[in-house]
């Protein structure tokens, strides 16, 4: 957003671009991207992977979470050029041969999503979580606390995680 009263006198930014190579969901991509373009925008605009959603663009909501080289990261806080040489997985890469992951199945069966906007972020965070590290409900909630959801009250997300991880039933 731009505001009235801004006094900055911005010169036209020099359009500098870079060539990058990334492997996204198993496909090698060679791209020319603007240096300032966010990874989230390149995934969505240049690669058409619109399953990664942008909810705040300041790194709080977690909707844009993707996996870069085995780490869950916020793609709105990362320039695409920083992903040069990396392997990226997005929500489109979770199902294998059209078959949902156990977490995706659990989200469906336990109504762990409503509008679906935040869902990819939760699924990506969970895809790299080691269940043994999160024994209690409180620890699971702590794991999920980097992702905001406005629809579910988190209740059925936690239920789904516990189901996928073979934990005892929750009310």
């Amino acid at each position: 957003m731009t505001s009235v009263g801004s006094t900055s006198n911005v010169e036209r930014p020099r359009k500098s671009t870079s060539e990058i190579e990334v492997t996204v969901n198993g496909v090698r991509e060679h791209l020319v991207v603007s240096n300032r373009k966010l990874l989230s925008d390149v995934l969505r605009d240049d690669l058409g992977l619109t399953g990664t959603h942008v909810g705040c663009e300041h790194g709080v909501c977690g909707a844009c979470t993707v996996i870069v080289d085995d780490l869950a990261v916020r793609s709105c806080l990362m320039f695409a050029v920083q992903a040069d040489g990396s392997t990226v997985t997005t929500v489109e890469g979770l199902a294998q041969d059209g078959k949902w992951s156990s977490m995706q199945t659990a989200f469906n069966e336990h109504h762990g999503l409503q509008c679906g906007f935040c869902t990819a972020g939760f699924l990506m965070t969970l895809s790299k979580a080691e269940p043994a590290d999160y024994e209690t409900d409180a620890e699971i909630r702590e794991l999920l606390s980097g992702n905001l959801c406005r629809c579910t009250g988190y209740h059925n997300i936690v239920v789904a995680v516990k189901a996928a991880w073979g934990r005892g039933a929750t009310e």
Partner: protein, 808 residues
């Protein structure tokens, strides 16, 4: 009691056999949403798409002198830049509401700027990065004006006026007075309290966004909106384009919660640009924009005074005065309607024989306020619950007993409130008792758990409420009333294609439509395909708001299904050379009773109806489809001569309770246990109803404890990101234990009542009551939300409540 305007109660006209309704049916929406295949407005890709960005006022109150966009236009990649005068042919929003001051805003500012975030200019460039860069070069000249940042400021003598022509800052002012109320309150004993709920943001995870394209003489608009047809009509009026030349598509919506019911400036400006430029144009709101330009809600001051019976604590008369800070008021679909609902909700669901409720809406230099899930009811129940508890503390009676005095019994049904609200059914008392049964052992357990921690106090709170569902829109819009329509078409292969004016904003509406259609036609659910949110394909309807979907879907789908069924049976009977009466529907077709070999499928019937029409009986026309409208018989749109209205087609009810932990050293409040009971009549999909309750309760907890839209004294917003608008995470929200009762509404299709908003009504009420319960012997009474640690610590320091230590 009011009489039905259009005859007897709704009856589907056939035996409705619920095979899917009430059962566990997993959501069909998830097939796309779980794998990243959803289509939200920001995902729309069109050839030649360019992007718009808006320049917004940084001043809270100013007179716009000039906007110089020359440098913006020269910026490489910019296709267009304009302020108000550069976008001719856009009308002002019409003034349809006769009970308040006229606010006829122009989509782009044309003189006065009344809040930070007012759209001033727009630029279109190849992408948003360039459009935002270019707008940095805009030169705006404004004359700053004194700001009005609170109700007190707004009503002070010689206060600066936002709209000089009004002569005051009242957008609406409805005083109310009743001699009997005055008399009873003068006689006493009385209880009084002043309660304040803070400004909040509905804050869906997906911001707003609009894409528009003008091609082959038609305008197509994609918007993250709750009501596609209402948007189409609005665009038609403001741009003077015939409705038939406009198609509005609402794709997947990432939550709305009321914020997306309004008709925003960008939803008109982006289509204008698409026509002007002959290229598809997109605008996707960023989060900071959302926090200042999408509606806020709930900021209300409630002043309550009641006379009560000394022995029982029963309220005999109640006087209330509500003052709602509606921000600048410049929003289409006015933000005042929530205040009117809040006024009615102070006494809705309570047996209070006499009351007088005044309400006023005051404008200030803040973002306009508007609809947010609960729509006025959470504010009211929050205040009245504290008042009831206060009677208990004043009299020494049990809190629950004082509440019990006011609760409806089945024998009270239908209960006609003095406001005109006609509550025809419910489980009000049973719900309340059930919630207390769950609460009591939980309080005990928590007291034991924390008994050795000197700085921890445990408290509990509870309330019960009614929830107006499937309401009229006439009071809110002054234009649209409320009906909705669905259409069922049997395809040549026997599949059912269903469209509806009800849309989805993420609740699972498509699944609900499939369930209702499958059961109404007696077909497997896999045979049902659902399409919503497309104004070309769907019948005119009002969309998703007001917890209205279930009622209007059932009403319209059952009606359409009856016609389709009857015709299908006649065709099947002809094909089977049998009589209509001898056929039964099931197993994906029609069979002659008692002779399973005599069977034709829906595919057989569909083929004959639409393709092999030579096999139709002579007296039946080809085609097998029906569009039906549902318009509830008991819903009223205008107040009568006594000022009464039954503004909701059905009234759900609920009860909520919680246990909180308050740390007296830090002031931190933690919700340990939350119980919510809801009665929306028979449930279409219990899992979805549970989900609605969980989410709504969580939003209520968020408002009770965390979220707060704040401004500084100059009108600068201080809550413009998720860093400073604290939406709760999974760690702050407890397990939400949901129970259901299912009391059918006698006049509603299938006995249904709406669901969606009810969960938001209780949390501020019960959490505030619980914190007061935990701390009142320290002289603390909480009367303001959010209950932040600093507010609790300040209250503990004051310990100022005169009633504090005396009663338990």
């Amino acid at each position: 009691m009011q009489t039905n305007k259009r005859g007897p109660e709704f009856n589907p006209g056939f035996e409705f056999v619920p095979a899917y309704m009430g059962a566990q049916v997993f959501r069909r929406e998830d097939d796309d949403l779980l794998v990243g295949r959803g289509e939200y407005v920001a995902d729309i890709r069109l050839p030649g798409l360019v992007e718009a960005a808006f320049l917004r006022s940084h001043s809270a109150h100013a007179q716009l002198k000039s906007v110089d966009l020359d440098a913006v236009r020269e910026f490489p990649g910019v296709l267009f830049a304009g302020s108000h005068d550069d976008l001719p042919g856009i009308a002002r929003y019409p003034d349809w509401i006769d009970y308040q001051q006229a606010v006829t805003t122009s989509p782009l500012a044309d003189g006065r700027l009344r809040y930070v975030g007012t759209p001033v200019a727009v630029a279109v460039a190849r992408d948003r990065y360039e459009a935002e860069d270019a707008l940095e070069l805009a030169e705006v000249d404004c004359e700053e004006l004194p700001v009005v940042m609170s109700v007190e400021d707004a009503l002070a003598e010689n206060a600066p006026l936002l709209f000089e022509e009004w002569g005051s800052n009242y957008l609406l002012d409805f005083p109310d007075q009743d001699d009997l109320v005055d008399e009873l309150i003068a006689k006493g004993p009385v209880v009084c309290g002043t309660y304040r709920m803070q400004r909040q943001s509905p804050c869906p995870m997906e911001t707003r966004g609009v894409v528009a394209e003008y091609r082959r003489g038609r305008l197509t608009v994609w918007s993250s909106a709750q009501s596609p047809h209402i948007l189409r009509s609005t665009i038609s009026i403001l741009l003077n384009i015939p409705e038939s030349k406009i198609k509005v598509i609402v794709p997947n919506v990432g939550g709305g919660f009321g914020a997306k019911t309004h008709q925003y400036p960008e939803e008109v400006i982006i289509p204008w640009l698409a026509v002007k430029l002959g290229r598809p144009v997109r605008w996707i709101e960023d989060r900071t924009e959302h926090m200042v330009s999408a509606v806020h809600a709930r900021e209300t001051l409630l002043d309550l005074e009641a006379a009560y019976d000394e022995t029982t604590g029963r309220i005999t008369a109640l006087r209330s005065n509500l003052v709602c800070d509606v921000g600048s008021g410049e929003i289409s679909m006015s933000g005042t309607a929530t205040a009117l609902v809040a006024r009615a909700s102070v006494t809705a669901g309570l047996k209070i024989p006499s009351y007088a409720t005044s309400v006023s809406c005051v404008v200030t230099n803040k973002t306009p306020s508007g609809a947010y899930r609960g729509f006025g009811a959470p504010e009211a129940i929050f205040a009245v619950t504290q008042l009831i508890d206060k009677i208990a503390r004043q009299t020494g009676l049990e809190r629950a007993d004082v509440h019990r005095e006011l609760i409806f019994d089945p024998s009270d049904m239908p209960y006609l409130q003095p406001s005109g609200a006609r509550i025809d059914s419910g489980s009000h008392r049973e719900g309340f008792e059930r919630i207390l049964k769950r609460l009591t052992p939980a309080v005990e357990a928590r007291r034991n758990e924390y008994q050795d921690e000197p700085n921890v106090r445990i408290g509990s709170g509870f309330c019960q409420y009614v929830e107006p569902t499937a309401p009229t829109y006439f009071g809110t819009t002054g234009h649209w009333t409320s009906h909705d329509a669905s259409s069922i078409r049997i395809e040549p292969d026997g599949g059912a294609f269903v469209t509806s004016g009800i849309t989805s904003i993420g609740q699972g509406t498509e699944t609900a439509i499939a369930v209702l259609t499958a059961d109404a036609l007696g077909i497997p659910i896999e045979m049902v395909t659902v399409q919503t949110g497309d104004s070309d394909l769907c019948p005119y309807g009002l969309g998703a708001w007001g917890s209205r979907g279930a009622v209007y879907l059932a009403g319209s789908i059952l009606k359409a299904a009856k016609t389709v069924r009857d015709k299908a049976v006649r065709i099947a009977a002809h094909l089977l050379e049998a009589s209509d009466q001898d056929l039964v529907i099931g197993d994906g077709g029609f069979q002659v009773k008692g002779s399973p070999a005599s069977f034709v499928s829906w595919a057989d019937v569909g083929l004959v109806a639409s393709i092999r029409t030579i096999d139709l009986p002579d007296d039946i026309e080809p085609g097998l489809e029906e569009t039906a409208v549902y318009d509830p018989v008991n819903l009223e749109h205008r107040i009568d001569e006594m000022g009464r209205i039954n503004g909701a087609a059905s009234w759900a009810n609920g009860a909520q309770a919680c246990v909180v932990k308050v740390e007296t050293d830090t002031g931190v409040v933690t919700v340990l246990d939350y119980f919510a009971l809801h009665d929306c009549g028979p449930m279409i999909n219990p899992q979805i109803v549970d989900g609605q309750m969980h989410g709504a309760v969580a939003q209520g907890i968020a408002g009770a404890l965390f979220e707060d839209i704040r401004y500084d004294e100059y009108g600068q917003p201080m809550s413009t990101s998720f860093m400073d608008y604290s939406m709760p995470t999974a760690s702050e929200i407890p397990w939400i234990h949901v129970d259901h009762l299912e009391t059918p509404a006698p006049e509603m299709p299938l006995g249904l009542k709406g669901v969606g908003e009810g969960g938001t009504i209780g949390p501020a009420a019960v959490i505030t009551a619980a914190v007061t319960d935990a701390l009142h012997d320290l002289g603390v009474v909480i009367d303001e939300t959010p209950i932040t640690p600093s507010r609790v610590r300040a209250a503990l320091r004051r310990g100022s409540d005169p009633l504090g230590p005396s009663v338990k």
